[in-house]
Amino acid sequence: MIINQLAVYSQNEVGKLLPIIKTLGMNGINIESLNIADTPEYGIVRMLTSDNVKAQQILSEKGFISTITSLVGVEVKDEAGELSKTLETLAKNGIDIEYIYSYSRKDGKALILIKTDKIKEAEDLLK
């Protein structure tokens, strides 16, 4: 499946993450997953939220810079070896992964999220 992710730019400084998160919270937007690609100077905060479009609009009004990106999402069993199966499929078919992360859910499933140029191909392979 294709999953939309919201990415927000932030300087890598004390207290910079808080206003982003606070703005979302105050507007009733729930964050389902969050991770940060960090560099010494800045970070890119990547999130799945309950409403990415609304979140982007609100953040943009507050002066944050953001973008919505499509990722390939794969639901797997939250068990050892599941991720390697997914990676094997992609590697065999020459799909380059730009970045990847995952989170485990309460229902015993894990969601793997993959950013790739060949999004359609990857989605078909992982169905």
Binding site: A7, Y42, T67, Y99
Partner: protein, 436 residues
């Protein structure tokens, strides 16, 4: 051509020099008799009024500096009594002391004339509605544009600075055709229109922008023209010499100097010797008709070059000056290299992934080494969620800046709004070095 002094605008060089010579001889006599501070300088240099017979003799005269004016605060350079002074302006100094300038009625009339001529050069006519967003007050921008516009016979809207929403409302409702303000505020207004869901640029009738009081790049000029749908013109001036209108851009790159009133020279920054046409140096002005505070060979600290001859763009013969590309005092010396914010601005505004006009330079000294950080806003359209794309952009900016200024800088990409433009003059540099 335009209504204002066609004869002066297209005078032959010979006639102009004759006029300038007559005026300089008078001005020097007047100054020697009435301005103690400059008489002392002339005496010290061993120059008498009789030594000045033509404009060519101007190089015999000593320079006046901003420091001289500050030392003689508030009225030491006034050449007439308060009986004849009708207005006082002052410009703020970074060191705290103000520079004060007093005007007689004739001084104000000459200045208005210079501004009206400038409007004419830009193609403004008495049918225009001029919206003035320069500050009114001690700063010369507001009142200079105001009386210049009135002298031309335009409908002048004296809005002043601040309250951008109201300014836009008035500009729209009144159908202003000409906007006078600082270039950074012009851009600010353009961006405010874009952000406002209830406004589009089609609601406005602007056709000409007369922008000055701070240096700006051609890249920024293009941005303003694109956002405000008008033709942007540079106006130049300084309160010490009168105010805005000392020179004006005719649509080509250079600016025409009102040289029958304000005589320009360009001198080498180190030797203070005049340089030939086309060679960059410090701009020096001599007022040829001022009564309140005449200034002789006043060093502006602005860097540019001048060019004589017929303007290929508009046909005027009055001398042209290049756009001011920096100031001797906003020049940063970083690791021994002279760096001008305007060079950096030019590089940044060429990069489409940036909002290049929104930048701030921060200079620090770490140990013995100077560091330059350039904070610049990204264009949200080009933001990517991948670090490699942001890094690619940083490298591109780094490359452009390094080739423009010759030294490396740390590039910090910011979100929109993190490097704001101000409603007056925008501060572009923070120098945190402590020089012992």
């Amino acid at each position: 051509m335009e209504k204002y002094n066609t004869d002066v605008m297209t005078m032959s060089r010979e006639d102009m020099e004759k006029l300038q010579s007559e005026r300089l001889v008078e001005e020097i006599k007047y100054v020697y008799e009435n301005q103690k501070a400059y008489r002392a300088k002339m005496d010290e240099a061993g120059v008498k009024p009789e030594d000045i017979k033509s404009i060519k003799d101007i190089t015999k005269l000593p320079f006046t500096t901003k420091h001289d004016l500050r030392e003689n605060y508030p009225f030491g350079f006034f050449a007439c009594s308060m009986k004849d002074i009708v207005r006082i302006h002052a410009s703020s100094g970074t060191t705290g002391k103000l520079t004060t300038v007093g005007y007689t009625q004739r001084d104000l009339d000459d200045w208005s004339e210079a501004f009206a001529r400038s409007l004419a050069i830009a193609g403004v006519t008495k049918d225009d509605i001029i919206h003035i967003s320069y500050g009114y007050g001690l700063f010369t921008g507001g009142l200079g544009a105001h009386y210049g516009g009135e002298m031309m016979g335009c409908a002048v809207v004296p809005c002043g600075t601040g309250n951008t929403q109201r300014q836009l409302q008035l500009m729209k409702d009144f159908g202003a055709t000409v906007l006078c303000c600082t270039p950074s505020y012009a851009l600010f207004l353009g961006e405010a229109i874009e952000k406002d869901p209830n406004l589009t640029i089609d609601d406005f009738k602007l056709r000409i922008g007369v922008f000055g009081a701070e240096p700006w790049s051609l890249g920024m000029k293009e941005k303003i023209e694109e956002k405000l749908h008008l033709k942007a013109y540079d106006i130049y001036g300084l309160s010490e010499i009168s105010g805005p209108g000392v020179s004006m851009n005719c649509g080509a790159e250079e600016l025409h100097v009102q040289e029958d009133l304000f005589y320009p020279e360009v001198v080498d920054v180190d030797t203070l010797e005049p340089v030939p046409d086309g060679v960059r140096g410090e701009l020096v002005f001599t007022t040829l008709r001022k009564q309140g505070v005449p200034l002789i060979r006043y060093r502006t600290r602005d860097l540019c070059s001048i060019q004589h001859g017929v303007c290929p763009h508009c046909g005027r013969t009055i001398v042209r000056m290049s756009r001011v590309t920096g100031r001797t005092d906003d020049m940063l010396i970083i690791r021994g290299v002279n760096v001008f914010p305007s060079q950096i601005e030019s590089a940044l505004t060429k990069i489409e992934e940036l909002n290049g006009s929104h930048y701030l330079l921060v200079v620090e000294r770490q140990g013995l080494l100077d560091t330059l950080e350039i904070r610049v806003e990204m264009n949200p359209k080009f933001f990517s969620d991948a670090v490699k794309d942001i890094e690619k952009l940083r490298k591109k900016v780094d490359h452009e800046v390094t080739s423009a200024i010759g030294i490396a800088a740390k590039i910090t990409l910011c979100a929109p709004g993190e490097v704001p433009l101000s409603e007056g003059k925008t501060k572009r540099t923070i120098d945190n070095r402590v020089i012992e």
